[in-house]
Amino acid sequence: MALDETDLRNPTDKFETAKWLAMVAGSLIIWTLLYSQLIPFAEWVVSLLPVERKSHLGEAIQFFVYDTPKVLLLLTLVVFAMGVVRSFFSPEKTRAMLAGRAEGVGNVAAAGLGILTPFCSCSAVPLFIGFVSAGVPLGVTFSFLIAAPMVNEVALGLLFALVGWKVALTYLAFGLAVAIVGGFVIGRLKLEGWLEPWVREIRAGAIELPDEQITIIDRIKAGIEAVRDIVGRVWMWIIAGIAMGALIHGYVPADLMARIMGADAWWSVPAAVLLGIPMYTNAAGVIPIVEALLGKGAALGTTLAFMMSVIALSLPEMIILRKVLSVKLIAVFVGVVGTGILAVGFLFNALFH
């Protein structure tokens, strides 16, 4: 009976699909038009205000008025696209691909899937237990858990837009490297005994979920839902980040940043990592700051280390994970990931000096 129903609905389905696709195409055109008017718009707003364009305040306001709509537009586009891509993946499918995988290959696959699998930090704990209890090795699970928040579409999209594709690609490559190597090292350490006892006892195994029919319309809706959810959640972080960036851009003298965060100050990399741990914002809030810091002569490695630390090593996430991991295991996690980020920072400063 169910089959007949779908058959009958088919012509209307096709029409509906076309309608949704046309809507997406129309939105893309509007998006492009808006995006092309950003600079004139920012200059126009500043010209309306009673401030000198070349003054500190004028520079800061121009930066803010230009960056805010730009970042929001780009974020919306990237989040929508990733929302659609992610509708092809699920944590359960990812788990099935990773279960029983050997370490090494498993770590690489886990880090890659960490980018593509829909993941929200509120389900980090069920995901962790679900993976480990179904036979995904602990180190491979960690590769996933490091990559998923760190190398995300918000970080990559904004870096690409604000700082350039070279930095975005390098961030992608090194973020994956930290996740792969970090997870591999944790796996080698054989720390299964450091999980909370009740986690070790769960041997649920994986369940087979009934296949849900996912249409093109559902995938578009998933993209829209992702925009509503993510952009709705991070927009204030972005505005705070851009305001902060605007102040740096307008007021901080260039040589100050070069001295504190420049490549010559070796201690600035560990300082940036330590500073990043208690800071809890997300990629969206931290990247406008990164852009402004780079513009003022901060070294790329130091800045990236700061950014990775803010995103990957966050206190709130550790508090959530404390429910399943012992304090010792969390310390190892922070140690391994922190070392990886330090290495990335130093390497970058050496490479792009």
């Binding site: 704990v125 237990i129 649920a204 994986a206």
Partner: protein, 78 residues
């Protein structure tokens, strides 16, 4: 009487899922007992890796994200 369990640590989506199931059950006039399962160990026993999850009469029918509104009816009837 259908026995429904919504698995999730208590995030906003889990609450929305509960409301969606309630509304659909009321619309179809199906008698249901809905229980929220928030304990991580209990959730893990069902073998899912993402929340919210929906269990109907002991069988997992959905995991991860909000369910599709049109999918709920068949689960309740099935």
């Amino acid at each position: 009487m259908k026995d429904i369990k919504v698995l999730g640590p208590g995030c906003k989506r889990c609450d929305t899922t509960v409301d969606m199931v309630k509304a659909e059950a009321a619309r179809l006039a199906i008698d249901v007992k809905i229980e929220k399962v928030t304990d991580y160990a209990e959730i893990a026993k069902y073998g899912i890796a993402s929340t919210p999850g929906i269990v109907v009469d002991g069988k997992v029918v959905h995991a991860g994200g909000l369910p599709k509104a049109e999918a709920i009816g068949p689960w309740l009837k099935g």
